[in-house]
């Protein structure tokens, strides 16, 4: 097991708490919005024109957002990314992050959450 896999995809306590407390539909809608935006952040990091500062800024957003809704592995990887100062590490880190997002989406689906793109969810 590598370091990435050692982090849980989802923090069970946070996830269950939010599912119980938040209004029906709101949490799943929030997660759907999250998965959509997190993929967009990854795409922005992949952009060959993106500066390291821009990439780290995207990672910064991802770290706080994903971690707060219980997506631990994505958040921890994003934190690792935020601290990265070596441009040669960007491509492998984006690949790991992208994989973690896909795995998190699958884990959410397994828990009955519609972790798919939902254009209507983009409204704050």
């Amino acid at each position: 097991m590598n370091a990435t896999q050692a982090w849980p995809l989802i923090d069970d306590a946070t996830f269950e708490q939010l599912r119980r407390v938040m209004p029906a539909g709101e949490f799943s809608s929030l997660l759907a919005l999250g998965m959509q935006l997190y993929r967009q952040y990854c795409d922005a990091m992949r952009d060959p024109q993106a500066s390291l500062a821009r990439i780290r800024s995207e990672a910064h957003k991802l770290k706080g957002s994903a971690g707060s809704v219980g997506l631990t592995r994505v958040s921890r990887l994003a934190a690792e990314f935020e601290a990265c100062s070596d441009p040669s590490q960007v491509t492998p880190l984006v690949a790991r992050l992208s994989m973690a997002i896909d795995e998190s989406a699958a884990a959410l689906r397994a828990r009955g959450m519609p972790a798919e793109s939902d254009q209507t969810a983009l409204r704050v």
């Binding site: 708490q17 919005l33 999250g34 935006l37 957003k61 770290k63 706080g64 957002s65 809704v69």
Partner: protein
């Protein structure tokens, strides 16, 4: 005995190195503290490497007497403990620095490095000296300055569960627009890294504005360094929470800075300490809000 020139008032060993105890770390994370600004600042600065006299030297304008009082309070409350330092290694390092003629500069550098080191996660919120007055019968309102849409929506939804109506602002223009709208918010949650603005600058402007001078502000940011926490607290923030955060801790912090009674969650325990209690609190809250 101490070697300080004002030894009569100094009740701490200046060369001792302290670190936050488990209880002290919890005090900085539980979203509710009665510590003064100076005590918080001192607790944040205790990095397990810097001696008390060095820390005091880095705190401009703090008298020896006030510093000693703050040390005494933290010790009495069990919020600090002596750091487990390797004295042999420390002596070797000090000797090496002295021989290199760079002792003072290296000390300053190491303190700076400690202040800037990432991974200092906190959930600080200070109680007001007196309960804050809210217009009777009016719903509490918050302005949430947050540019990340998922978090903005998450915070807004969670505050709504507590009966707090949140208005969201994602950039400078929206911050200005939301702050101009009545009513003046009861609390402001303030991100630091915005696309076209800096949260610390916004905090400074708020504290200089007559309408917002006393409005509670909680910094809610991914900047998890001692230096950032100190900057926020020194600039007049009532709270500082690092991201990612736990929703219950945020709610608790909001209640704290507003001087309200404890939210449902804290009746069941500290969400940072006991997750079982946290889940119980969630069940309790659901029944309470619906």
């Amino acid at each position: 005995m101490t070697s300080s020139p004002t030894a009569a008032t100094v009740a701490y060993p200046p060369h001792e190195v302290y670190v936050a105890s488990e209880r002290g770390a919890a005090e900085l994370r539980r979203g509710m503290t009665r510590l003064s600004q100076l005590e918080i600042e001192l607790l944040v600065r205790l990095d397990g490497a810097s001696s008390l006299d060095r820390i005091h030297a880095g705190m401009a304008g703090v008298s020896e007497h006030d510093f000693a009082d703050a040390v005494a309070t933290l010790r009495e409350r069990g919020l600090v403990k002596p750091a487990q330092t390797d004295t042999f290694a420390a002596r070797l390092q000090a000797d090496a620095l002295r021989m290199a003629g760079a002792g003072a500069a290296a000390n300053a550098d190491s303190q700076l490095a400690s202040l800037r080191a990432a991974g200092f996660f906190v959930g600080i919120a200070r109680r007001p000296a007196a309960p804050r007055a809210c217009a009777e019968g009016r719903q509490l309102t918050a302005v949430v300055v947050e540019d990340e849409p998922v978090l903005a929506r998450f915070i807004k939804s969670y505050l709504a569960l507590e009966g707090i109506e949140a208005r969201v602002a994602a950039n400078r223009a929206e911050v200005v627009a939301e702050l101009r709208k009545p009513p003046v918010p009861d609390v402001i949650l303030l991100d630091v890294q915005l696309p076209d603005a800096d949260g610390f600058d916004i905090l400074q402007k708020l504290r200089a504005h007559p309408a917002f001078r006393t409005t509670p502000v909680i910094m809610l940011t991914g900047q998890a360094t001692r230096a950032s926490v100190l900057r926020g607290i020194a600039a007049g923030a009532d709270g500082y929470m690092t991201k990612p955060f736990e929703a219950d801790a945020l709610v608790k912090a909001v209640h704290t800075v507003l001087g309200l009674g404890a939210p449902a969650a804290s009746q069941w325990g500290d969400p940072w300490v006991n997750r079982d209690c946290q889940q119980g609190a969630s069940e309790h809250r659901r029944g309470w809000t619906q």
